[in-house]
Symmetry: C2
Amino acid sequence: MTTGHVFIGMSVDGFIARADGDIGWLDDHSDPNEDHGYTDFMSSMDGFVMGRATFQKVLTFEGWEPPKPLVVASRSMHEGDIPDRLADKVSVTDAAPRLIMEALASQGWSRAYIDGGRLIRAFLSEGLIADITLTRLPVLIGEGIPLFGPVGGDIPLRHRSTRSYPSGLVQSTYDVVRSRAAV
Amino acid sequence: MTTGHVFIGMSVDGFIARADGDIGWLDDHSDPNEDHGYTDFMSSMDGFVMGRATFQKVLTFEGWEPPKPLVVASRSMHEGDIPDRLADKVSVTDAAPRLIMEALASQGWSRAYIDGGRLIRAFLSEGLIADITLTRLPVLIGEGIPLFGPVGGDIPLRHRSTRSYPSGLVQSTYDVVRSRAAV
């Protein structure tokens, strides 16, 4: 089956956005000239699966286009909600995580980038995430939208590597050890 | 004034204990033979300031004694609540964070180890923490007692160093950059 992979930035205190969705602080605490491996990561993916909230956020970035095929996981959106200019790159599904991954496997996807806090937790709970790369920006924002939350029990991780950058970002990659929840 | 220093273990998803205070999972995901620098850290401190909940937790560890003088910050405890065997090492104060640090400075303390989630956040909010060392254990526990929460606004950090251990622990030290809240 297609494996899920996470690559996400967050504050040291675990927030991926402010409560109103603002992510401007990510730019304030990072250096656009530093290569944090996103391009390499993305090139190893067959495409994305993204939650609705994250998709609606990226749509606010002028001229944004997905670098790979994108599936939006949403029970409230429909294909008609996709801007025409993106219609050939973006599809919408209301299927559950495991069924999404089965469908992607049948389309030949090996690896899918899973993006968005709620979606990542849902995929973690279902044992569908193979590895996670967390890049922590050197700031505490105190409140906002957390990446993590209940995931159906403990999920042991295996640390693969950590590196830090002159800007103060610390990036760790973990393999997800198959948990009870994955059985 | 005395500076505050944090040295604390947590899950990758930011929890320092389960909701019921259990910290047994810390042992399950670390290696007691690895030196994570606690002894060196502690030897550079003049003593601890600890929240009530954390103090009551450590009291459940048979024979536990603080390696340095300990001040328990609590508005509900009194000196009479301290076990007799610890009476010469432990005191109780109901003072606010800044007043605690002023009192410790007058007693000759340069550096205080600040321990316990709520207390750490209160000291961070008041600009009383100089640096934090976070040791992340390779597990997601999903829910529990978080280290972080509202701290009175953004607090920029300066990354000092990160190291990882064969057991999978990743330890980062940050200096707290003086924030608005500290003025």
